[in-house]
Symmetry: C2
Subunit: 338 residues, 2 copies
């Protein structure tokens, strides 16, 4: 039997080098709301261009690229949305996620990757650390507004895993609440919960808007200020730490968990949402790529493995920890008690 | 029989949105020469970091990402190059292509994609057009130096398709020669060829270096200046137009081909190298994505289908045209005679 070695090609190199062009094409399509215009029935480049206020030539080239990329289909000169595109990128869909480009592809986030070589040399970012820690920065306001839709499925999965009697009166703290979606989703499932959202004041305006929108405003309280400095007060039954620990190094995380310990009621639990790579640190892809985002965006952040997270909690007074998959979302939930 | 619809997920949206991060990680790895350091035998993050003059933490996170992306393998804490990575991204390999990031991911090329929304609205780029048409710009010098390695396989395939008696004395013109690789490869196959490289003077210094390197300097002549203004002189047997026409709109291309007609000898032929999408304009992927690059980088450039190119040549005095695949490279060769 003859064995044929697979052809060694530079294809992966080429595809990866030009991958930024695909991000840019997607952002442009969302900026010009091309997907919604097609969803509304405009199908030729001329029709879409007219509806979007753009040039036919530009829209023709962009739409062909979006077809190659798998967002559109093309029949003759007519473009149509794929099923996934109709669900997530047509603004008229309740599952619309397109706003996420406003954060993920913001100049600030891209800046971190412009300076990635420096971050690798230095072992951490020297550019965006300040912005991400500045209470007056608009960055987290943009995050809160843009990323909320992406958080729903994860927040709902978290709410299903709180594991308390649904009628119980609970006092709930949502750390770095941002859009507030995590606290709000848990609050909706626990109608007698009082929800406390902690974040910088600017960002909390978004959380309050969402509390209003989801009908929990009468039970929603805010604690403005730096999470490391704020007085959260005592007696919380549940404390949520969604997508927060990854911004910091291990000593900072442990110090923060000890602070939360002081605010947690007898028998209370901490629910942490994180990207958790496997112990090999190179799988599964979404979680294993996340440390790079933190390298580009923070001085010392990372995505921690479960054994690292477990040790952080154990070192900070939480002997019992379990990890729960939030399938189909890439993140995990860690449930910690004393 | 029950039919199960495929799960509709936002995976493609997410992957495309963050694709720019992969381009950045690859560029950083090449900037820091991580692949060569690994090829030389450094395998742990600590060893690679020391060899590359970078922080271990930065290298660990970068190398894990490169493993997820398929450039490295990881066993325990040791990283190794994939076969393709060793062939194309280790500087010690004769097939090293890494320098291409210096052009494809240059600030100027990325700038075009930063302003892609404006280019779609306007029907063409308003930012980089000037730079690409400025004889004093360093952009094409960078192109000539960075992209030459990527051109070899295509240039060799072109040389194989010239179709003349190898001992014949031929006069050969290479339009927008740049790195000069196309003319030089044809010249090497035709030892009695006199090669004329036309480009801006700054760029021709790179072509002359390469002519020296490949032993054809004694037969290499240069014609400096703007291709639309230069006097190429008469009597060429073969004129190469490699990767040039896509920068311009159809009337400009036709005008230019008529100019070449005046310089072509009786029985001479024009060999054009281009990205040629199929008539549907959405396949095959590399050629079908190329118009987007031209939209971002030029006021009126495009990748033309074969029927469009054929019509351009017919309108400019070339009745006989054929198209040749340059497999495994994505480009095509168009051979035109009167």
């Amino acid at each position: 039997m003859t064995q044929h070695a697979p052809e060694v090609t530079p294809d992966l190199f080429w595809e990866t080098m030009v991958a930024f062009q695909r991000s840019a094409a997607l952002k442009t399509a969302i900026d010009l709301d091309i997907f919604t215009k097609i969803g509304e029935g405009n199908s030729t480049a001329a029709e879409i261009a007219k509806a979007a206020g753009a040039a036919e030539r530009g829209v023709r080239i962009l739409s062909d690229s979006l077809t190659v990329m798998g967002f559109l289909t093309k029949t003759g000169n007519s473009y149509a949305l794929t099923e996934a595109c109709a669900a997530f990128l047509d603004k008229r869909s309740q599952m619309y996620l397109g706003s996420a480009v406003n954060f993920i592809l913001s100049p600030q986030q891209k800046r971190g990757f412009e300076d990635l070589t420096d971050a690798v040399k230095n072992g951490g970012s020297r550019v965006t650390g300040e912005a991400s820690m500045d209470p007056e920065s608009e960055m987290w306001v943009e995050f809160a507004r843009s990323m909320a839709p992406l958080m729903f499925p994860t927040a709902q999965a978290v709410a299903e895993n709180v594991g308390l009697d649904p009628d119980r009166e609970i006092k709930l703290l949502d750390i770095a609440a941002g859009h507030g979606i995590y606290g709000i989703m848990v609050g909706k499932r626990y109608p007698n919960a009082q929800i406390y959202g902690a974040d910088w004041n600017k960002v909390l305006t978004v959380a309050k808007e969402n509390a209003e929108k989801f009908g929990v405003a009468d039970r929603y309280h805010t604690i403005g200020g730096d999470a490391f400095e704020s007085d959260f007060g005592p007696g919380y039954d549940v404390i949520l730490i969604p997508n927060f620990l990854h911004h910091f190094d291990v000593p900072t995380c442990e110090k923060f968990i000890r602070k939360l310990d002081a605010s947690l009621a007898e028998g209370g639990k901490i629910l942490t949402v994180e990207f958790v790579p496997n112990e090999d640190r190179v799988s599964p892809p979404p979680s294993a790529m996340f440390p790079l985002v933190m390298l580009a965006a923070t001085p010392g952040g990372d995505a921690y493995t479960y054994s690292e997270l477990k040790k952080m909690f154990e070192n900070s007074g939480f002997a019992n920890n379990e990890i729960v998959e939030l399938h189909p979302m890439p993140q995990h939930l860690i449930i910690s008690t004393r």
